[in-house]
Amino acid sequence: MEKIKLIDEKGKRIDGRGAKDLRPIKIKVHPLNRADGSCYIEWGTNKVIASVYGPKEAQPKHLQDPLRAIVRCNYDMASFSVDERKRPGPDRRSSEISKVIGEALENAVLTNLFPRTMIEVNIEVLEADAGTRCTGLTAAGIALADAGIPMRDIPAACAGGKVDGKIVVDLRKEEDQAGDADLPIAILPRTKEILLMQMDGDLSEKEFYELLDLLADACINISEMQKKALLDRYKQEEDVEEDKETEGKKTENKEIKKEEEE
């Protein structure tokens, strides 16, 4: 089989993005009424819903920490989220992702304020298209803020990698599978402290630092979107609609400018 060309001569990717461009992100805060906090996010064709319960009494009791709260995360992929039906329930991959996301969130939350309690985060992937752990973590950050849990900052996450020998941000499925490396990171945008970092494949030291800088910038962009989504929930409906209209015009203008540049 002929290998797909992932980046063309102009440096554009298969979906027309440049190396630094993110897929379009849509965020809805508090779509669920039963959970204390929740968030639905569409990141490209990734569709993820995150919910937060707590702080509540830690169960099972042996996990209680007398000095701080614990954050338990449960990442799960729906059986219909991928091309071939996934066998439902926890597996090796989702246990690992649950663990790393839980630990990342624990470092953002001010856990010392709620001794002996547990904060439960559930991340449900409805549709997957690479980078679901970053999408899930970004959604979980918003859900935590929505639940009123004290945090140092809202964590934001983004993945990047090497495709056809070039460093790119926010891989999509084809790039993730055929690419040379995949590096998901999560940071606290204000201080740029790293909460999560994993790497698949190979990068040289120079490439690694180049990608890390690009990802930090991407996370800061995502952080702005998170904050805007949270504030929009408390705006009057008319205001939000107005904003959307002006935003639409802005993106149109941007596209026109881009075309002109080309």
Binding site: R116, A145, M151
Partner: protein, 226 residues
């Protein structure tokens, strides 16, 4: 056009310098500046800067009146759910009845709703509650709804203005616990309307001039429904 108070998100810079971080804010040791830790409305008071949270759980403080639900019965005490992250203990010495050892379930059983007072919160967040005070009692009849505990002051209003308004218009008995539970008792139709009004207040808690708008809303709905 409804005026909205300024809202901050976790990690947003609030202030720098001598002012102290209060509730919902923290000082970063690295740069000495003060940042918000919760989603809420910033408020400066004397030499503190606070963030009044928009959402979040109830944290009990002594002498607050709350509505509790009995979740467990033991020979000499009850365990009460007060909507906090921790369970509360109601000891037989803290109830207005003389209870023999082992006969606790004769007085209060699981799922009973009680109006209680937080009497003590220890450093390790062990909560003790009491029923020994004026007006503290077991609720009979009526219904309980839950709202965001952070929005309780808004539902009560300045000098109880908001809740008195709802009570006066609809003729419903309402008691609001500090923990976000509200007990209502009255005629079916007006109780339903009162719940609707409370939900409306909860939804628009962060806007200004709310009492007047709720008054209009009640006026309109009252004439339609009754």
């Amino acid at each position: 056009m409804v005026k909205i108070k300024e809202i901050v998100v976790p990690g947003q810079l609030l202030d720098e310098g001598k002012i102290k971080p209060g509730q919902g804010a923290y000082r970063d040791r690295a740069d000495g500046k003060i940042y918000a830790s919760r989603l809420g409305v910033p408020l400066k008071r004397r030499d503190f800067i606070n963030v009044i949270p928009l959402t979040g759980c109830y944290l009990p403080k002594p002498d607050e009146l709350v509505i509790g639900i009995i979740v467990d019965v033991a020979p000499s005490y009850w365990i009460v759910d007060v909507n906090a992250p921790y369970p509360a203990v109601l000891h037989v010495n803290d109830v207005p009845w003389k209870v023999e050892f082992g006969e606790t379930s004769k007085y209060l059983s699981i799922a009973d709703v009680v109006l209680i007072k937080i009497s003590r919160v220890s450093e390790t967040e062990q909560i003790q509650v009491s029923m020994r005070d004026r007006n503290l009692r077991k609720f009979v009849g009526g219904q309980v709804i839950e709202i965001q505990p952070t929005k309780v002051p808004r539902v009560i209003g300045k000098k109880q203005s908001m809740i008195e308004l709802v009570k006066r218009y609809l003729n419903v008995w309402i008691f609001i616990g500090k923990n976000g539970r509200i007990w209502l008792n009255g005629e079916g139709k007006s109780t339903r309307l009162a719940i609707k009004a409370i939900r409306q207040i909860e939804k628009e808690a962060h806007t200004e001039g709310l009492t007047d708008r709720i008054k209009e809303w009640l006026e309109m709905n009252k004439s339609e429904n009754m």
